[in-house]
């Protein structure tokens, strides 16, 4: 199983236009299950098509293992059909004039496999994906989920070294999606194939990927494990794109009571550094206190009004105002407050994400000594 190496890859569709992919450096390691995540139009699908060989590069080079497959400067382009990759399309792209079995056998026939071997492979993939019953049906006679399985089976049958998936689950309903996620994860474990898939659905990315590459405007924003992406977003875009409800961002440059309270808090707890432009707080990391706050608490304490309460089934989203600024909060415990109630909120210092004026994350300077407790909580009180 080879790795996939993208080296300074750019793709321009029109000479004058902005590049769809700009100077992308990415190494997808052997046996990895990597996800390209980003909003539509961020260049993630283009990246996938470049790796597949369905598009050609404008600059840079792509290697699969030690095989150079695309480099304009070196005059090398290996067409898609010779790269030994599998690609599952968003639309499934099953051939409507062939039955399920014929669809799956197509690639095997092209590889000149003899009939008994073909039959064996066919039986095996049909069984793996649980679609034996549909062998002689045409794609039009299958449901979306079944078509999805056939599309996957068709690519698995030829045993590609690398499997690419372009928004493979986006056309399925919620239940099927969950089922197929498990299926994909199982296949990856079973075959150990290097897998790369593209999605705009953060849950899918979080659930499946060993590493996630977040993209925006053709540029890589952050590369890391799902945990890293969530806990230490590299910039404001990643912080805002990952997580629902989205992260609360407070602009420190805009004069507001909350902003000045945050500024003071950062100073007192020792996290202040020059250039902080915005502070992000994840809704699920805000805690509602049962009663009056403990003044010795080193955490950030905020007095807020509950303006709106949105149940979402197992959890609740609270909309609050802190002296005119709106915050969202997410909790799993059934709230006991009515709309309009006054509450105390608590946020730990390490749960504050700091961003500079370019939106880049400011790493928290590891405090040399533990911060003194009392001064931190002191100024908080007057605001409410």
């Amino acid at each position: 199983m080879p790795d996939i190496a993208l080296h300074h890859v750019s793709k321009r569709y029109d000479p004058g236009a902005a590049p769809a992919v700009a100077d992308l450096d990415l190494l997808i390691e052997e046996g990895e299950f990597m996800c390209l995540l980003g909003p539509s139009g961020c260049g993630k699908s283009t990246t996938l098509r470049l790796i597949a060989g369905l598009e050609s590069l404008s600059e840079g080079e792509i290697r699969l293992g030690d095989r150079l497959v695309d480099s304009r400067a070196r005059g090398c382009f290996v067409p898609a059909e010779q790269r030994n990759l599998g690609l599952v399309f968003q639309s499934y792209a099953l051939w409507p004039h062939l039955t399920v079995a014929q669809n799956i056998e197509f690639g095997l026939k092209l590889r000149k496999q003899d009939a008994p071997r073909r039959r064996a492979t066919l039986d095996q993939v049909l069984q793996t994906l649980g679609i034996e019953a549909y062998r002689h049906r045409y794609p039009a006679q299958l449901s979306g989920g079944q078509q999805q399985r056939v599309a996957l089976a068709r690519m698995l049958a030829v045993q590609p070294e690398i499997l690419l998936l372009d928004e493979p689950l986006s056309n399925l309903d919620a239940r099927l999606r969950l089922e197929m996620r498990t299926e994909l994860k199982r296949i990856h474990r079973q075959l150990g194939t290097t897998m790369l898939f593209v999605t705009h659905d953060q849950w899918e990315a979080m659930a499946l990927a060993t590493r996630i590459a977040v993209m925006k405007d053709g540029q890589l924003q952050q590369l890391g494990t799902p945990h890293e992406i969530y806990e230490t977003p590299a910039n404001r875009f990643v912080a805002e794109f990952v997580g629902t409800p989205p992260i609360n961002l407070v602009e420190l440059s805009l004069p507001s009571p909350l902003a000045s309270q945050l500024t003071r808090y950062l100073g007192t707890c020792g996290r202040w550094q020059p250039g902080i432009e915005a502070v992000g707080i994840r809704p699920e990391r805000i805690q509602v206190l049962g009663g009056e706050p403990d003044l010795a608490d080193p955490a950030l304490l905020l007095s807020a009004h509950l303006t709106s309460l949105l149940p979402t089934g197992g959890s609740w989203i609270l909309e609050l105002t802190v002296a005119g600024d709106r915050l969202h909060l997410c909790t799993q415990t059934p709230p006991s407050w009515a709309e309009g109630a006054s509450l105390w909120l608590r946020v730990r210092a390490e749960d504050l994400h700091l961003f500079d004026s370019q939106g880049r994350r400011l790493a928290a300077p590891r405090p040399a000594a533990p911060t003194p407790r009392t001064p931190c909580s002191q100024p908080v009180m007057e605001i409410a």
């Binding site: 597949a52 060989g53 369905l54 090398c76 010779q82 051939w95 197509f106 690639g107």
Partner: protein
Amino acid sequence: MTSLSPALPLWRRVGYPLRQHWHRLRYQGQQLRQNPTSLLGLGLLLLFGYFIAVPVVSLLLDGVQVQFGDERRLGADTGAWTWHYLERTLFSAVAQSQFWTPLGHTLRIALWVVLLCLLVGGLLAWLLTRSDLPARRWLATALIVPYMLPAWTFAMAWLALFRNRSIGGQPGWLETLGVQPPDWLAYGELPITLILALNYIPFVILLLGNALRRLDAQLEDSARILGAGGLTIALRILLPLLLPALLSACLLIFAKVLGEFGVSYVLGLPVNYNVLSTSLFRSIALRQTGSAAVLAGAIMLLGLLSLGLDALLLREARKFITVGGKGSLHRRHPLGRWRWPALGLAGLLFVVSVLLPLLVLLLSTLMRVPGDFSLANFTLDFWLGRDLPFVAERHGVLLSPNLWRAAWNTLWIVGTAAIAAGLLGLLTGYVVVRSPWRPLGLLLRQLTFFPYLVPGVAFAAAYLSLFAEPRGPLPALYGTVTLLILALIADEMPYASRAGLSAMLQLGKDPEEAAQMAGAGWWQRLIRVVIPIQKGALVSGMLLPFISGINGLSLFVILAVPSTDVLTTYALRLLDYNYPQAANAVVLLVCLMALVGTLLTQRLTHTNLAEGLGH
């Protein structure tokens, strides 16, 4: 890599950029090999350039170059530039009868035809799609029938009815019945206009009906909820939204009538009534190639102008056109007490445009003396008789070897051309949709559509003059079937390429790319994925040209020689021999072939023929 320091040795300074250049070339070569769509497109461009553009250009050049035989009179060598033919055709003493009068006739006929088609066709399109007209399903099929039949069939039927003493030969029905029809009723402008209008009404019904069907009924409903009455809705909502379809129908009919030959030839000749295309035919027959070129140029120019106008107006109209998603939910307007008169109108149209002509033709093949309805006058001799007292055919047509030879010729000549045209059409559609190089697609589209504007007579003449002697890789083709087939293919390309294009537009890239991922090269993708998926479209792309080819007259009139006799030319010759019964019998057979072909197309592809344009 551009800032090469002068310290480098010379071979590196020169060699490095050279190698870069070579790499870039190789890269493009590799991509071209992987996806030779553009190469295929270039091939098609060359092919169509040779068989469409070159004949047209050479035809037009004939109008400004001294023609063979005119050297002495014009005092210049063959091929020298001259204004002579333009002057002669447009300003000389013969200009009036050769150009200006026919031009006036053509324009008058074309405008009247468009107007009649629009009024009758528009009303019927609405009745058939939006009202509770009785028997609308049956009528929707029945009223389209004239569209499948050759227009000159109607001319033959008209002649059988109204023929008078102005021309010799057998009498018309009315004459036998004791009424002498006047010339203005029997020949010339009135019958030509009426017949062409009847022939093109289905075209409006199809195009407008389609547009009406696709129009979201909610657009009308919202207007009604806001308090708009029926007339307001029709004028302020429906009309603007249907304008593109209306304009297209009008201008396509207009362009087609300009080059129309058969009807004007059959009905205009007896009273010396000329339109541009018959005047063109006469020039060709008289070997006045220069004048013929000017006339053909004038027809093409008018066609181009009307299409240009269409494109211009369409661009305006497209700004507000919406095609509804769920347009199929239609409430039908109750016609109330107008229900039966409306049915009467639709029925009348069916009788006049289908039943009557075909019946007249059929009866005329069964009567010894036309129009005499006594039982003794009826006979099957013209179909099945032996030893008949006619010079042209001694036996009934069904027993005549000439008929079967002509039928066989029609089938295989037109069939070959249709299969070739269908394949080329699909390939053209493929290149237009898939080629990364846009101008190529655009050029191919324009080029393949161009024969629509060239009158068949002129196109045939151009072929004759161009390929009569060896040209490039082609040997001299005068009088050969090859020439006829080539001309037919070129002439049918507008329909074939449209069919191919609309089929390819509906096929996304995914199936092909999936095949590529499975390891299929370009040819394998084309043969094992694209063509099988497009099977139905391919068949309809072949049958449409086939029907149109069977009906065609103008190409055959000029390019067919006795050995390549087809049904249409055979019918015309029988008419020339003054044997209308047999001629009409042959015409009926042509109609039958065209009808069967059309029904087959619709059955095979479940498609609507509106996409295929006029005849």
